[in-house]
């Protein structure tokens, strides 16, 4: 069904061309929303939807956008989509929207978006752009989920809000690690993922 090239467009960003751990884009929001798994999941989905749709729209418009004002056109498209997503979240998932606070709005400035629009959607066809957007969105979401998994597990002793670590551990002296709740530790976790990723993909250099 998928040719070699489309496969690369879709699955490349998940691993060898990951936007977070290889291109080191979108780190800011990855540190901010990963204290718990749930907001990280929502954030990942929101970014995926916005990247995919804005990629499609910009790809449709790519031949009519004057080169000199392309950034402003891209921003308008992204801003419209972000506002939509933000309103939907506020309507149907108010708690999570409050947890994510400004970071939903800040998706506009997420480097992954502008990066994909500039580097891919402006020069590629609609179907490819959609796949590229989905791939990069998932690549971003996957890192967010890994980081949030460890941060919530070790920092709060829960996953998706459910208590995972039994009370008997706490009674025996176990304590949640407060460092995990801090953005500094998220950065170190992202660093660890990059470390592991580079060691696994040595031959790809």
């Amino acid at each position: 069904m998928l040719s070699q090239k489309t496969k690369e467009t879709l699955f490349g960003p998940l691993n060898v061309n990951n936007p977070v751990v290889v291109q080191v884009l979108g780190i800011c929001s990855a540190l901010a929303v990963t204290v718990q798994l749930k907001p990280a999941l929502v954030m990942g989905i929101a970014v995926t939807i916005i990247v995919a749709l804005s990629n499609v729209i910009i790809s449709l418009l790519r031949n009519t956008i004057p080169m000199r004002i392309r950034i402003i056109v891209q921003l308008v498209v992204v801003a419209a989509l972000v506002t939509l997503v933000s309103e939907v979240l506020k309507a149907f998932a108010y708690d999570v929207a409050m947890q994510l606070s400004v970071y939903i709005g800040l998706i506009i400035t997420n480097c992954i978006l502008m990066g994909r629009l500039e580097a891919f959607a402006m020069t590629n066809k609609v179907w490819d752009s959609l796949l590229d957007g989905l791939g990069n969105g998932f690549g971003y979401a996957i890192i967010l989920i890994i980081v949030a998994f460890f941060r919530e597990l070790l920092g709060s002793g829960s996953l998706l809000g459910f208590k995972v670590i039994p009370d008997s551990w706490y009674a025996a002296g176990y304590e949640n690690c407060g460092m995990m709740m801090m953005p500094a530790m998220a950065l170190i976790l992202v660093g660890c993922i990059i470390w592991a990723h580079r060691s696994l993909n040595k031959e790809e250099k």
Binding site: G173, E175, C177, G178
Partner: protein, 400 residues
């Protein structure tokens, strides 16, 4: 170092065959290797190697300098335990109680030493295997300092995690011994401080009331406070509170981290470090000047709180100020290297430490944060000093 060597050789005569201590000659040999090997130097002609001091010898000297603080710390842990459980009553310290205090403290502190060395050296060995390098001596001092700067009630598994974190992320990822930006022992403490704040702050952590390995469990005497003097100052609303006198703080029989309380023990270590040239007296002195001056300014113009009203000389002898100034800030790897830079580096550590103590109600003690912050700035300070010097010399050149 040369003078020490002469004295040491003279002392060694006792251990030769027929000498008074001939049976202990292997001890002498061991220490001889620790302290004075290698000792091959170039001939004394101008600027050449005059002392074959390598990092092993340097590290051993620092550990020796830490021993007074360690021994006193062990005794003080037991002494505070006896005080808190009411075993030292009106009659003061008897001989039996002295040894009980020391034994209790020894048993309490020893596990921390073992855990710190086991975890830290374990990681060093593994990393050395992976990188095909020799195992560096760097952890020798770090592992000895860690038990001295953590509160005595910190759970051992937390210490183990913190040591692993510090060795991996503060040292090995930067390239190992000698390449670290931040002091590894302080990163250990900082990790504990931020990760497990309930174990590191407040009233409970610094005095062990309960048992050590099931021995001598006690009940806290009614009305006895186990908070450190700095915590008391940090949390009080009484702006004129002065929990201890100057000499209490110097003698160090007060609650606190294991090694930080007794100024006499720290001073002994400081003398050894300065005489042997291992640590810089400029850094130490400028920390005390910076801290004293800042505290004095707070005395004069500061807000009306207990921490700001605390006399300037008290700031220098309370908490971890002296210990940090002598043993942590002078770490040759993470401190400023230029002579002028050492003055600036030290002065700013003293300044920041006192500012944190006085102005931040969340942190009664600021020494750890001050040293870590200035660790980050040390290369910048050096860069500025070196460049200023280059500019100065360039100007002189033009004048000629």
């Amino acid at each position: 170092m040369e003078k020490f060597y002469q004295i040491w050789k003279k002392f060694g005569k006792n251990f030769e065959e027929g000498g008074k201590l001939a049976k202990l000659s292997s001890f002498y040999d061991a220490f001889d290797t620790f302290l004075f090997t290698p000792n091959t130097t170039a001939k004394r002609l101008g600027a050449q190697i005059h002392d074959g001091s390598d990092s092993k010898r340097t590290m051993i000297l620092v550990v020796m300098a830490l021993i007074p603080a360690m021994l006193f710390g062990m005794f003080n842990v037991g002494y505070q335990h006896l005080l808190a459980t009411g075993q030292i009553g009106c009659c003061g310290l008897t001989c039996a109680l002295f040894w009980k205090a020391f034994g209790f403290g020894l048993l309490a502190v020893l596990p921390y030493i073992i855990v710190a060395y086991a975890v830290g050296l374990g990681i060093e060995f593994i990393v050395a295997q992976i990188k095909h390098e020799e195992v560096a001596e760097g952890f020798l001092v770090t592992g000895f300092i860690i038990p001295l700067i953590v509160p005595i009630n910190t759970p051992l598994w937390q210490v183990a995690i913190a040591v692993a974190f510090a060795v991996i992320f503060a040292k090995e990822v930067f390239g190992g011994t000698g390449y670290n930006i931040f002091n590894v022992a302080l990163i250990t403490r900082a990790f504990l401080f931020f990760a497990y704040p309930s174990q590191m702050t407040g009233d409970a952590p610094f005095v062990r009331v309960g048992s050590t390995w099931g021995w001598d469990a006690g009940q806290l005497v009614d009305g006895y406070t186990t908070a450190t003097p700095l915590t008391q100052i940090g949390t009080t609303t009484d702006a004129s509170l002065m929990p201890i006198g100057f000499w209490d703080a110097v003698n160090g029989l007060i609650p606190g981290s294991v090694g930080e309380t007794c100024i006499w023990a720290i001073a002994l270590g400081a003398i050894l470090l300065i005489v042997t040239g291992v640590a810089s007296w400029k850094t130490m002195l400028s920390i005390f000047i910076g801290g004293g001056l800042t505290a004095w300014l707070f005395n004069q113009f500061g807000p009306d709180t207990a921490a700001a009203n605390l006399p300037w000389y008290m700031h220098l002898v309370m908490g971890g100020f002296a210990f940090g100034a002598v043993f942590m800030a002078t770490d040759p790897v993470t401190s400023a290297r230029t002579e002028c830079g050492k003055w600036i580096y030290g002065f700013l550590i003293g300044l920041v430490a006192v500012v944190v103590r006085v102005l931040n109600p969340g942190y009664p003690e600021g020494m750890m944060l001050a040293i870590l912050l200035m660790n980050a700035f040390a290369p910048l300070i050096d860069w500025c000093v070196v460049n200023a010097n280059i500019k100065k010399r360039a100007k002189r050149e033009v004048k000629l």
